[in-house]
């Protein structure tokens, strides 16, 4: 068995109050708030944001999501590229089931246990599209979580087991734009608790443990009440489920719950639910620090109208240009891996990589260097003729762009993101940090790269 050595989550900055949803749609409020991805975020960008907190190299990346932005095209390879991993890294996506993240954790465990890979990144992210005015709109939240699976780490995976139970549940057909269901009560009554218990009982037997040997149980669920009901049924105290602050983050949810548990020692049971359940027993010997508290604190409220804009239900995103995909591919080292160049003649660090130095013109005399994570705004503007993402300006959502001097050198023109119409804090000499985002969707393709935001 392998261990978990590090953990991290990512939450989009925007939080939408369920009372606000209720006010605008008439649906009864479920209370609290849900995390809402910015318009330039999806499960791929959030996965990168969660995973880039880790130091060191990986030899495998497993991306888990039920909402990958591409039907054909692997996301894990994008994640590997954004993390500047080598070309020999093994990458795979596990998709389509809310159980995908725990499946990924199990897979990583097997890889490491078998000695196939030494350090595996498991990253789960979801940004499940929901129709306005449906229950799912309040139920779900957008988030990502990542863990590092390696031979030695603070939390040992003791064992796992799975049960499989196809139920109607919730689904999206290949052509669907939003999630749908038949009758969620079927899942709640016949699916959830049964699946988790069917997976857990043989695991207890295998490990020679009884439920009393378990300190804490966390398991993703189709709704928060199902989780509470399960814990009540087994006579345990429910742990923080993050429904009132995040929402159910699809397949990222079990990993978020895991990350929150890794902050204190003890023996835990982690459940991932979807068409049955994965149950994983983990012995946390060394408590880990996670960024979950900081992520929850760093929040901005979003109105329902702005949420609809972020989701593309409101407003027009239009632009006549068709940025070349071959150029995008050719410049991957600058655009995705974020390398600049250091001139060997004059020492200038500049961005992007180009044949001749922008200051002294020296030809082909540079080394490629990875640029820093943070920088300072040299100057900026808030441009009403352009909409974020290089779309034609709508006069309402200005494009905030800034010239940023990166720590360690290099000057880069960035789109400033996580802003809608309020630009407080954007000024000359303000500190910013870069963040991986969707740049724009054009040519029926999604172009990714780096933007900047105020530090979180």
């Amino acid at each position: 068995m392998a261990s978990i050595g590090d953990c991290s989550i990512y939450l989009p900055v925007w939080k939408l109050s369920r009372d606000e949803i209720s006010k605008e749609t008439g649906m009864p409020s479920l209370g609290g708030e849900r995390a809402v991805a910015h318009w330039d975020e999806d499960s791929l960008t959030m996965a990168v944001e969660a995973a880039r907190n880790f130091e060191g190299d990986f030899d495998a990346v497993i991306f888990a999501s039920t909402s990958p932005p591409f039907r054909i095209k692997q996301c894990a390879s994008f994640v590997a590229s954004a993390l500047d991993l080598g070309s020999n890294v093994f990458t795979m996506d596990i998709t389509d089931s809310m159980r995908a993240a725990t499946d990924a954790l199990i897979t990583a465990n097997e890889f490491v246990d078998a000695g196939k890979f030494s350090r595996v990144l498991v990253v789960a992210a979801d940004c499940i599209p929901t129709k306005p005015g449906t229950l799912y709109e309040q139920l779900y939240g957008d988030a990502a979580a990542a863990v590092v699976v390696e031979k030695e780490g603070g939390a040992k995976i003791l064992g796992y087991n799975t049960s499989t139970r196809p139920l109607p549940g919730s689904w999206m057909l290949a052509k669907d734009d939003t999630v749908r269901d038949y009758d969620m009560r079927v899942d709640a009554r016949f699916g959830y608790a049964t699946s988790v218990q069917q997976a857990a009982m043989p695991l207890f037997a295998k490990l020679g443990l009884s439920p009393a040997d378990i300190d804490r149980i966390v398991a993703s669920a189709p709704d928060p009440r199902s989780y509470e009901g399960l814990l009540k049924a087994v006579g345990a105290r429910p742990e923080e489920f993050y429904f009132s602050s995040i929402g159910i983050a699809g397949t990222a949810h079990p990993l978020i719950l895991l990350v929150s548990q890794l902050e204190k020692t003890g023996r835990i049971l982690l459940g991932g639910y979807g068409e049955g359940a994965d149950v994983i027993a983990i012995e946390i010997e060394e408590a880990m620090e996670s960024n979950i508290g900081r992520m929850l604190e760093s929040r901005k409220e979003i109105s329902y109208g702005d949420y609809l804009y972020n989701r593309g239900f409101v407003g027009i995103r239009d632009a006549p240009d068709r940025p070349s995909l071959t150029k995008f591919w050719r410049d991957e080292k600058s655009i995705i891996r974020f390398y600049g160049m250091k001139c060997r003649n004059c020492g200038t660090v500049s961005y992007p990589i180009s044949r001749c130095c922008i200051e002294c013109g020296a030809k082909d005399n540079y080394e490629e260097i990875k640029l820093g994570e943070k920088g300072r705004i040299y100057t900026f503007t808030i441009d009403y003729l352009v909409m974020p993402g290089n779309y034609t300006g709508d006069g309402v959502h200005p494009h905030c762009v800034a010239v940023v001097d990166m720590d360690g050198g290099g000057r880069v023109l960035f789109e400033i993101t996580d802003t809608l119409r309020n630009f407080d804090g954007i000024e000359c000499d303000a500190d910013v940090e870069r963040t991986f985002r969707l740049l724009f969707e054009k040519n029926n393709f999604r172009y990714y790269g780096w933007k900047a935001r105020l530090p979180r």
Partner: protein, 383 residues
């Protein structure tokens, strides 16, 4: 340099010419110029025609098929917003070299046909992943840094708009012929912070043409009713100032270098003393203030002082944009630089009715294009 004579000028009214094609504008400007020069089209040996957007046209055919001027050399010039004056530079040097005796430098732009608020975007000129910045956005970045470094304010910028619209209100061919107040400028909708609508030059249609020859030929055709181009400087800097660490955003190096070149060609050491006025590229109000500095009219950081103290007003010590500038004319790109040289010519010949700068004997005109990457400066005086 060998001086080049401007013997004829033609400028259309600038504005929203919804009912006219670029053909109408170019015909009007070209025929006005050759009539003013008292020459016939058949005697013109070569043409340079500036146009920026393909929606107006590309290649020498823009001129040939409009005027039906066939079988002679025509070059289309494109160099961002400096297209018009770079066009004149090429035509002037051809005449100065003796290769041709009589040429036309024309410029035309039909922006209203492009269907865009602000300048129409151009595909693929910047790197693929770079955020797009509009033209006002590019210059707004200079303004925000100038505010930070020098304490300039939106009120300082507004004074530029007030001055230029005061002049433009008196120019019959200007797009906008209304004076504005500081209050009106400050209250206008924001375009690219800190630049509001009145801090920006408009998107307009227009055409302009000048007829060039050498002074000895000019004297035979028009007597002493001509002006001379004494120097034309031009410099190209990076189109990615935001990626060049040494870029201050407080000065546009292309202007500085083009000005030095032009001053040197014309034998000018102190432009503030040796010249009488200037026409600068006021695409945005901030640009005009930085231009004062880059054109060596004052020291860095003193640009706002010049506008506050009225130095650059039409009756000031060194009038700038007595014609009303791009602020009043709008900026049909290929046409602007040509129009500026036509305005200089009128001023030094004492023909700028209602807008005449007192004792104007010599002045400069300046174009700045792209992300401050291309600049041209021309010096024009009485013979």
């Amino acid at each position: 340099m060998q001086e080049v004579a401007v013997i004829g000028c033609g400028v259309t009214k600038f504005g929203h010419h919804w009912e006219k094609d670029h053909e109408d504008l170019l015909v009007e400007a070209t025929y006005e110029a050759i009539n003013d020069a008292n020459v016939e089209l058949k005697d013109v040996e070569a043409v340079w025609c500036g146009t920026f957007y393909p929606s107006t046209g590309i290649s020498g055919n823009v001129f040939s098929d409009t005027i039906k001027f066939f079988g002679k050399p025509i070059t289309r010039v494109e160099n961002y917003c400096a297209t018009g004056m770079d066009n004149i530079r090429n035509a002037a040097f051809a005449v100065a070299s003796g290769a041709y005796d009589l040429v036309i430098a024309a410029g035309v732009e039909k922006l209203m046909d492009a269907g865009s608020r602000g300048l129409p975007p151009i595909e693929g000129i910047f790197s693929v992943a770079m955020p797009v910045v509009s033209a006002p956005g590019m210059f707004a970045m200079a303004a925000n840094r100038a505010f930070k470094e020098w304490g300039w304010t939106r009120e300082d910028l507004a004074l530029v708009a007030v001055k230029n619209h005061y002049n433009g209100a008196r120019h019959p061919k200007a797009h906008f012929r209304k004076e504005v107040t500081v209050e009106k400028v400050l209250k206008a909708p924001m375009v690219a912070y800190p630049l509001g609508v009145f801090d920006c030059s408009a998107v307009s249609d227009g055409a302009a043409a000048v007829v060039l020859t050498r002074p000895e030929i000019a004297r035979e055709i028009v007597g002493d009713d001509y002006a001379v181009i004494k120097g034309v400087g031009m410099a190209v800097e990076t189109m990615h100032p935001w990626h060049r660490p040494s870029e201050s955003f407080l000065s546009f190096p292309a202007t500085v270098k083009a000005a030095k070149m032009a001053y040197k060609m014309a034998g000018i050491e102190d432009p503030r003393k040796e010249l009488d006025f200037g026409i600068v590229h006021d695409c945005f109000t901030i640009t005009e203030l930085i231009n004062y500095q880059d054109m060596q009219l004052c020291k860095p950081g003193e640009g706002a002082e010049m506008i506050r103290n009225g130095v650059t007003a039409i009756d000031g010590d060194f009038p700038i944009n007595p014609d009303g500038g791009l602020k009043s004319f709008g900026h049909p790109i290929g046409a602007s630089g040509v129009r500026m040289v036509a305005e200089l010519t009128k001023q030094v010949l004492g023909k700028a009715e209602g807008l005449q700068v007192k004792d104007a004997e010599a002045g400069f005109a300046h174009n700045l294009g792209g992300p401050y990457s291309v600049a041209t400066v021309a010096i024009v005086s009485r013979p």
